[in-house]
């Protein structure tokens, strides 16, 4: 057992369209002896869209989520970049604006809660790389990923805006992010260096600006494939959904075949740590990815 214990904010996708994200996250935690308490009381983070509609309401709901991590006295971890950003933005806003904090707490008092600002919020990626440590992860690898060229796709909301994330992401520089590359390296995979790794997948305008969204995600996949990637790995389920479920459409828009498995970061780690096929859940992908499991052990 490690002595790490986190409160897990699952977000909405891990409870619905990407069940493989939750099962692989829990599998990784179990393999590494990290204790996880799921925040079952938590609500949606607003995904930046609720923030567009009603910023104050979004702060109240996110503050409520954080309250439950504070009650447990634990660091809150997220498994979605957008959950990370929106939770961290609320924390930052409340911790730096006493008046806003008071107005939010006035609402929270109505349901018997109080936001104090005592819990940190970090993405599971950085819990692994910063808290658990790459060397310790490397020691636990049972299936080295040496058969794969793996393209890290960082996802905007873990790396930008830099100053918001620096306390939780190990000072990652958004122009030269390294955490995911280093993690791939620790799992003995071959990180693919390509320009699109820190770019936007377009998920957030999927409905209202479909073309923009598809060009952005399509270009990123082309870039990964042209740099010899066997798979793309991302810490964000929204990037995953955009690049996996819409892969056909992306190919049409960029005029190229862009077939490639897109794994969640915890799926990749779970694979290397010897988790079961069921825990990794590659069957839940739209673009066929189940072959990755057998290819890893060839």
């Amino acid at each position: 057992m490690s002595n790490l214990h986190y409160a897990l904010f699952t977000g909405c996708t891990a409870k619905q369209s990407t069940p493989e994200l939750l099962s692989s996250t829990l599998a990784v935690a179990e393999k590494l002896g990290i204790e996880i308490t799921i925040l079952e009381e938590a609500s949606c983070c607003g995904a930046s869209h609720l923030q567009d509609f009603d910023e104050f309401l979004a702060h109240v709901l996110n503050a409520r989520n954080i309250c439950y991590a504070e009650k447990l006295g634990l660091t809150m971890i997220t498994i979605c970049n957008t959950c990370q950003l929106n939770s961290a933005m609320t924390k930052h806003a409340l911790d730096t604006d006493a008046d806003l904090k008071a107005r939010v707490n006035e609402k929270l008092a109505e349901v018997g809660l109080e936001y104090k600002g005592t819990s940190e919020i970090k993405h599971f990626l950085y819990a692994l790389t910063e808290d658990y440590g790459l060397a310790a992860i490397k020691d636990k690898v049972v299936t080295p990923l040496s058969n794969f060229n793996i393209a890290p796709f960082y996802g905007c909301h873990n790396i930008r805006p830099g100053e918001l994330h620096h306390s939780s992401n190990g000072n990652e520089n958004s122009y030269v992010p390294k955490s995911l590359d280093n993690l791939i390296d620790a799992l003995e995979g071959h990180p693919v260096d390509y320009d699109s790794k820190n770019k936007c997948c377009g998920f957030h305008v999927e409905l209202q600006a479909t073309h923009t969204s598809e060009v952005l995600a399509g270009n990123a996949l082309v870039d990964a494939i042209d740099n010899n990637a066997d798979m793309v790995v991302t810490p964000c389920p929204l990037c995953h959904l955009k690049m996996d479920t819409y892969q056909d459409d992306l190919g049409k828009v960029v005029g190229r075949d862009v077939e490639i498995p897109v794994l969640h970061m915890p799926q990749m780690v779970a694979l290397a740590l010897g988790a079961t096929e069921k825990e990794i859940g590659l069957n839940y992908h739209v673009q066929k990815a189940t072959q990755v499991f057998s290819e890893a052990t060839v």
Binding site: G46, V111, R160, Y175, D248
Partner: protein, 329 residues
């Protein structure tokens, strides 16, 4: 340790009048610890090749002329320390124009699209004022603070040419113009709120085309944080009651509907609610694939069927929405 570092600086070279394609040239130099990217450009011009072209003027981070990119990172050349960049990029840096496809000569680009968009949002105070005022038109500290830091923009173009949405969709106004739109709309002396919100809420050109990548916030050398201003413009549409019901506004407001029912977002319902039944045909092909993969279930979108997980203590969430919501669509 020596105070200087010997490196090869690469630069993008192109003359639209004579060159068919751009090329890269290397310039070897000793870089001092206090030198700026602007100093490197000066030295290329003065010590290596007098034809190397770039814009520069104030050298004090206020005129906005010397914006370029280094290895894709937007910088204001007169503010950016060169050694810091060399450290960041392992001593391998390439000076590039803000937009390669708009390059005219070396670092100089045609910034016409930037200025057209800036002009389109009426970046000035619209007010019916007395031509012979008896006293000055005063602003309180609070009124000034309401502009946030939007007034600090120097029109350098760093955010505009870092924006991936703009790269794909040429009609999009982009972060700099939208931040300017916010700056004047939030000014209490201005009387063009509705007009400017009307300009900025159009789909295809306005705030709803922002992809939320935060590249603009990262790029800005004056910490204007354009995406924050875009967010404020989103909010203002609802606050001022000018938001029209469309796929983007229903998508934003639809989150409340889902969260109130489940605590979580109902992924099937948000698409249906945003698009309407008629708009759903676009998503059927993807929905079928998701169904096959077990990501969604055959009865997810049926009325009276509820497959969505619920947050524990949902009553708290519902109460908080009731007492905290300030906007309406």
């Amino acid at each position: 340790m020596s105070d200087t570092r010997k490196v090869k600086i690469k630069a993008f070279r192109f003359n639209a009048e004579t060159d068919y394609l751009p090329y890269t040239k290397e310039y070897e130099m000793e870089v001092g610890k206090d030198e700026l990217v602007l100093d490197l450009m000066n030295r290329i011009k003065w010590e290596h090749d007098g034809s190397f072209s770039y814009r520069r003027s104030c050298r004090h981070g206020i005129c906005g002329a010397c914006g370029i990119k280094v290895n894709g990172k937007p910088v204001l050349a007169c503010k950016q320390n060169a050694i810091e960049l060399l450290d960041l990029f392992d001593n391998d840096i390439t000076l590039e124009p803000q937009s390669k496809r708009r390059a005219v000569k070396d670092m100089i680009i045609d910034k016409g699209d930037f200025w057209d968009k800036h002009a389109a949002v009426k970046p000035y105070i619209v007010a019916d004022i007395d031509p012979r005022p008896e006293k000055e038109s005063k602003q309180s500290i609070a009124e000034f603070n309401a502009l946030l830091d939007a007034d600090l923009c120097i029109q350098c173009g760093a955010c505009h040419y870092a924006c991936p949405a703009l790269e794909v969709n040429e009609d999009y106004l982009g972060p700099a113009a939208l931040a300017a739109a916010f700056r004047f709309t939030a000014d209490t002396r201005d009387e063009a709120t509705e007009e400017r919100l009307d300009i900025t809420f159009q789909t295809g050109t306005g705030v709803w085309d922002c992809v939320k990548c935060f590249e603009c916030a990262e790029a800005c050398p004056k910490e204007v944080n354009p995406i924050e201003k875009i967010g404020k413009l989103h909010n203002m549409q609802f606050e001022e009651g000018v938001a029209q019901s469309n796929v983007a506004t229903r998508h934003a407001e639809g989150f409340v509907r889902s969260i109130k029912k489940h605590g979580f977002l109902d992924e099937a319902d948000i698409v249906l609610y945003s698009e309407g039944y008629l708009g759903m045909h676009k998503h059927m092909k993807t929905a079928l694939k998701m169904l096959k993969a077990g990501k969604i279930h055959w009865n997810d979108a049926l009325p009276f069927v509820d497959n969505v997980p619920k947050s524990k203590n949902l009553d708290e969430i519902q109460k908080l929405i009731d007492i905290s919501m300030t906007n309406k669509l």
